[in-house]
C-alpha cells in the first residue's frame, strides 16, 4: 500500500497518531524486510524496526511533503541502520553463526530446494551463510548499498535517494562491494 504524501500530510495535521498508525500498516513490512536484509537476524531486525519507527514518530512533524513518503522513511531507515551496524552489531557476532534457515522457512514457507531434496537445503544454507558473512565484512556504505539493491530489490535511483548520495556514487559503491565480495568469497572457498 503506497500512501500519497500530500494526503497523509493533511491527515498528520488533523490526527498525528492516526497518521502514524497508517504509516505502520503501510510500511512496517517493507522496513522489517530491509532490516532483516541488513542484519540477517530476526531479533536484531525487530529491534531495528522498532528504533526506526520510534525515530519516525519523533520526527513525524519534520516531513515537509517535498519528497516521497517512502523515500523519507527509507532515508530514516538507512541512517538508523548505519548507527545500528556501527555501534550494536560490530564485534557482537557473525552472521554465519546466527543465520537460521529453519527460522526463515518457518516464517515464510521458504523452500530452498527444488524437489525437497535435503542436500539442496544444505547447499543453500551454506551459500547464504557464506554470502552473509562476506557482506558483514564490507564497509558500512557498501554493505547498505549492496543489501538495498541486491537483496531488497531497490533501484539505483531509490538507493541514491535513501542514502542521500549521487547515482554515480551508488554505482561505484556497488561495483566495489561486488569486487570485495568476490575476493572475500574466493578466500573463504579456498579455506
Amino acid at each position: 500500500m503506497e500512501i500519497e504524501g500530500n494526503n497523509w500530510k493533511e491527515l498528520l495535521g488533523q490526527d498525528k497518531e492516526k497518521a502514524y498508525r497508517l504509516l505502520v500498516s503501510a510500511y512496517a513490512e517493507k522496513v522489517y524486510n530491509t532490516c532483516y536484509r541488513l542484519t540477517f537476524h530476526e531479533e536484531d531486525a525487530e529491534d531495528l524496526t522498532q528504533e526506526i519507527f520510534t525515530a519516525i514518530y519523533l520526527s513525524i512533524d519534520s516531513y515537509k511533503g517535498d519528497s516521497k513518503l517512502s523515500t523519507w522513511i527509507y532515508s530514516l531507515t538507512v541512517n538508523k541502520a548505519k548507527e545500528f551496524i556501527r555501534y550494536k552489531l560490530r564485534d557482537k557476532r557473525s552472521a554465519s553463526s546466527t543465520f537460521s534457515l529453519d527460522w526463515l522457512k518457518e516464517s515464510t514457507g521458504y523452500d530452498a530446494s527444488d524437489e525437497n531434496n535435503p542436500l539442496d537445503e544444505v547447499i543453500q544454507k551454506e551459500r547464504l551463510e557464506l554470502l552473509f558473512a562476506a557482506i558483514e565484512e564490507l564497509p558500512d556504505n557498501q554493505r547498505i548499498a549492496y543489501s538495498l539493491n541486491k537483496l531488497d530489490g531497490l533501484s539505483y535511483g531509490e538507493v541514491a535517494e535513501s542514502m542521500d548520495i549521487s547515482l554515480s556514487s551508488v554505482e561505484s559503491l556497488l561495483f566495489r562491494a561486488k569486487q570485495n565480495l568476490k575476493k572475500s568469497l574466493e578466500k573463504k572457498l579456498k579455506d
Binding site: 515464510t108 514457507g109 541486491k150
Partner: protein, 89 residues
C-alpha cells in the same frame, strides 16, 4: 570457482518477503503512548533536584536580604552616593 561465487551471490537475491509478527506490530503501534509517557514522566531524582534548586535559591535570597538589612548603613551609603545626582534636580 567463478561459477560458484556467482551462485553464492545470486542466492541472496531469492530471499522471500517476511511478514511482520503480531508481537512486533503491537510494539510498533504502542510507540506513540510510550514516547508521550516518557516525555510526561520526569525521573524522581530530577524532580528532587528541581525542588532542591528552587529551595536553595529562596534560602540564598533570604540570607542576602538579611545580610543587607543588618548592614544597611554601608549599602545605604553606596546607594546614596550613586543616586546623589538626583538631589540636584
Amino acid at each position: 570457482m567463478e561459477n560458484r561465487i556467482d551462485e553464492i551471490l545470486k542466492s541472496g537475491e531469492q530471499l522471500p518477503k517476511l511478514s511482520v509478527s503480531d508481537q512486533l506490530l503491537n510494539r510498533l503501534t504502542q510507540i506513540p503512548s510510550q514516547v508521550s509517557s516518557q516525555i510526561r514522566t520526569l525521573p524522581r531524582s530530577v524532580k528532587w533536584m528541581l525542588v532542591a534548586g528552587i529551595a536553595s535559591i529562596v534560602v540564598l535570597n533570604t540570607l542576602i536580604m538579611l545580610y543587607y538589612r543588618n548592614n544597611s548603613g554601608s549599602s545605604g551609603e553606596l546607594s546614596n552616593m550613586y543616586f546623589s545626582y538626583l538631589n540636584q534636580l
